[in-house]
Amino acid sequence: MTKITAHDLAKKQKEISVAEFFERNKHILGFGNATRALITSIKEGVDNALDSCEEVNVLPDIYVEVKNHEDGECKIIIEDNGPGIVKKQIPHIFGRLLYGSRFHAIRQSRGQQGIGISAVVLYGQLTTGKHAKVISKVEEDRPAVILELVIDTNRNRAEVLNRNTVHWDKPSGTRIEISIIADYKRGKRFVYDYLQSTSIVNPHAQITYKDAEGTVHFFERTTETLPRKAVEIKPHPYGVELGTLIKMAKHTKARKLSSFLKTEFSSMGDRTTKTACEKAGLDRNINPKEMSREDFLALHKAFKKVKIMAPSNDCLSPIGETLIRRSLKHETEEISPEFIITASRPSSVYSGNPFQIEVGLVYGGNLPKDRSVKIMRFANRVPLLYQQGGCIITSAISSIDWRRYGMDQPSGKGIPTGPAIFLTHISSTQIPFTSESKEAIADIPEIENEIKLAFRECARKVQKHIHKKVRRKKTREKFDLITKILPEIAKKSAHMLDKPVPSLDAVITKIMDVVWIEDVITYEKVDRVIQTTLIEPVEEKQQGVITKSKIMVVNYKRTPQKFNLYALIPEDAVIGAVEPKPSKITSNYIKWGLGTIQPANKIDVNFELAGLGQGDFDENDLYIENINPTYVIGADKWEGD
C-alpha cells in the first residue's frame, strides 16, 4: 500500500463553488421536495418584488402566474412594477449566489442573504435544464431588456445566453420566468395560502395570481400608504460578534477607541463609552487598529457588563394594529368573524437586535369550532409556511393556558382548539431563523416572552369584549323594555280603562337604575381636504373618510349625576370636530367633564376622526370617572392614563 502524503491530498483539495455546494444541499434552501420547491420559488420571487418596490416608494402591484406542464414541470412567472434592474446587474442578481444589496445593512428587510432568487434560477436549471428569462425596464421612455441566463456552478457566475431589447408597456419593472420541476397538484393550495397571507401582512400591495387552471385571484390593496421606511442602523454592542468587532476596528477611520465606539455603534454615548472602556481596562485614547486580540476580547466582554440603551426602533417597520385589523377583516370577510382583535408590543431587543411583536386574533364566524386554531406566522412581512411545530411562535402560543380565556386546551398546554385564527408578526433587523430555508424562528427567550405578552394582552381584550357584549345585550333588552314595551303597556291599560296615559319616568328609572351610555359610529366620505396624520410631515388628502362617533349618555338613576367621560382614540387618527367642548385631548383619548344630568335626561357627545378607513374604528372604548362604575352601563372605570 502506497503511503498517501499531504502533497497527494493537496491535489484533491480545491475550492468548492457556492453554487456547487447548494446543488448538493438544496434542502436547506427550501427545495427539499417538489411541493416545497414550488412555494419557495414563488416566495423568493415575490419577496424580491415587494422589496424592490418599497425601496423606491412605489405601491407594489405584483403579478404571479403558474403554468403546469405535463411530466411535473412548472413555469413560474413573477412580475412587479418596481424600478427594474440595470442591464449590467441582472446577471449578478439572478445568476450569482450570495449577491445582494441588503446583506450588509442593519435594518428590516425581507431578503437578507442574497441567496433567494438565484437559488431558484439554479434549481430550475438543475431540474429542467431550461434557462431563466428576465425582462427589466428601468426608464419609461426606453425599451425593456430581455435576457436568458444560466449559472455556471463552478465559478458562481451567470452565463448570459441571449440578450435583446423588447417593447414593454410598463413604465418600469421586472419580470422573471423560470421553469422548475414542481408538484403543482399538491402545492397549489399552498401557493394560494402563501399569497393570501402575504397580502394580509402587506396591505399596501396588490397581488394578482393566475393559477395553472387559468383562474385569476385578486388580492386587493387595503391601504394606499406605504410602510414606514426602515432606517439603516449601526450594529449594537450587545449583538456584535468578536470577529466582526475586530474586522470593524481594522476598517475604521477613527483613530481613538472612544470615537470608534461612538461612531460605528448605535446607542453608544460618552458615558457608556467611558464605562465600557473602564470595564475592559482599556485606554479610551488607544488606536483601535493597534489593539490586540486580548484587548478585543476584554472589550467584547465589557459590553455585556454595561447597561446600554436599546437601539432605536427606526430600523423596524411594523405593520400597525389598524392595518392588521383592516387586512384581517378584508381577508376573512367570507368567514364573517365575530370580532378581530389586535395587540402590539413596544420594540424590544435580543442580542443587540431590535425586534417587535404584533399579533392579531380572528374569532368566530364560520371557523371550525372543533379543530386547533389556525396559526399564521410572519417574519418581516413574509409568511412562514412550514415547520410550524419547530417555531418559537408556536411554542409561545402553546405555553399559554388558554383555558383561562375560555378556549379548549386539554391539560392547559399545546395549541388550543376553537374557532380562531392567531396571527403573529415579528419585525427585526435580524430574524433568528432556525435554518437557511427561513421557515421557523429559533428559540430566543426574549422573543418568546414578547409573543406571550402580546397574546395575553389580546386574550384580555377578547375577554373584555365578550364581557361587554354580554352586558350590553342584557341592558339592550332593558332599553327595548323601557323605550318600546312599557309605554305600550301603559297606553293599552289606559285605553282599556278610558283614562289618561300615566307618566312612566319614575317607573323607567326604577327599572333601569343606571346611567346608560351608548355609541353609534357612522362614516362619511368627504371631498374636502383633510389632515390624515399628526406627525410631520403632515399628510393631507383630497378626500377620505370621516369616522363620526355619537355617544348618548342617559341618566336613568333617580338622582342627578355628574361625572367625567373618556373616549379612547387610535394613535393613527386625527381628531376633528368635538362637541361638547372637551376638557382634555391627548393622542390617546378625549376627556369631557360632563355637566349635571337630571334623572330621565340625556347628553349627546359627538366627535370626528380622520385618517382611518371605513370600518377601521367600529366600536368606542369608553371610560368614566367620579361616578360609581356599577351605576354605569356602556363604559368602564377609568384607571388613569
Binding site: 323594555l481 305600550e488 303597556i489 293599552k492 291599560s493 282599556m496 280603562l497 283614562k499 317607573v507 326604577k510
Partner: protein, 366 residues
Amino acid sequence: MVKKDYTNVLNKIDMIASKIYDDFQKTEIPYLNLPTRSKSNIKFDDKFNVWKYGKKTIERSAKSLDGAYMLLRTMYMTDFIKEMIRINKSSTLREMYYISEGWDMAKFHTQQESNMLAEDLEVITNCMREDFKLRPEEDGSRVIGNLTIEEMTRNKTKKKIHCQDDVGDSGYTIPYNVEPEKITFKSADADYIIAIETGGMFDRLVENGFDTSHRAILVHLKGQPARSTRRFIKRLNTEKNIPVLVFTDCDPWSYRIFASVAYGAIKTAHISEYLATPESQYLGVTPSDIENYDLPTDTLTKEDINALKSELTDPRFQDSFWRGEIKLQLKMGKKSEQQALAKYGLDYVTDTYLPEKLAEMGMSKK
C-alpha cells in the same frame, strides 16, 4: 236557557288593566301574580275531591323583558276579549293566534304561547275560556248510548237527539260548549258510562252492540280528552248519577288520560271542579291484566320509563292501586294496547274481558 250575562267577566278583565294602571300611578314596576302551573303546585281539594293549584305563585313583572312582553300580551288579549264580548262574536284559539299577528310587539311566536296565556287569564280571573268567547278548534268526540240530549242549535231552536236512534254508527258529536245554555240531558237510562281512549275500541264496542247489551253509554276520549268531553262526562255523572269507567291502553300516557278525567289535569287545575269526575274508576287495561290475560306487549321506551317514574312522584297517583300497578309495570318493562285483546278474537273484549272486569269491580248487573 238564558242569555249569558258578561258583566262579571268584564269586571274581572278590567281588574287586570286596573292593577297595571294603578302600578304605574303608584310609580311601581307593574306586575301580576298567578299560581305556578306545575306538578309541584297541585293540592287535593277536599271540598270538590279534585286536584287544584296550591299556594305557590309566580310574578310576571315588567322588570324583565319576558315579563314585560307577557304583560303587554295580557293587555292585548284582554282588550280583544272585551271587544268580542261587545260585538257578540267568538273565536277559536287558533283564530286568536292569527289575530295576534296584528298585535305588533305583543304578537305570539307559537299558538302554544297564546293558548297558555288564555289559560293564565282563566286562572287570574277565575273565569272559563267560554266566558272569554274563546273555543278550541278540535271537533268534539262521540257518544253512543241510551241518552236523550236537547241541544240549542245555531238557529236558536231546541232539538232533541237520542244518542242511539237519532244518530248513525259514529254517534252524537259533543259540541265545544256543553254548558246548560247549549245542551241539557233530557233522559238517560244506563248502568255506566265507559270512556274509551281509542277510536278503534270505541267502534269495536259499538259494532258489537255493547251499549245495548250492557246498558252502557260509550264516550270516545280521543286520546287526552278535550275540555268539553270531560265537562260532558262530569255533567252526565252528576246530573244523571251514572258511574264513570275509563278504559284505555296500558301505558303511562293513558294513566294521565284517566287522571285528567278523574282528578283534573295539571294544565287546567284551576277549573278541576268543573271538569273532573272524582268518582271515575279505572277499568283497564292494567299491568296486572297483561299478566292475567297474557296480552301481546311492547317493551317500554326510555320515555315511557321516565313518565312512569314521574307518575310515582305525581300527587295524583299516590294511592296503593296506582303505586302497585306502576311499580309492577316498571318491573315487567312492558306495555300493551286495548286492541291487543283482539288476540283472542273480535268478540273477546265484549264477551269476556269487559264482563269479567265489570264483575270484578262490582259493576255487573246480571
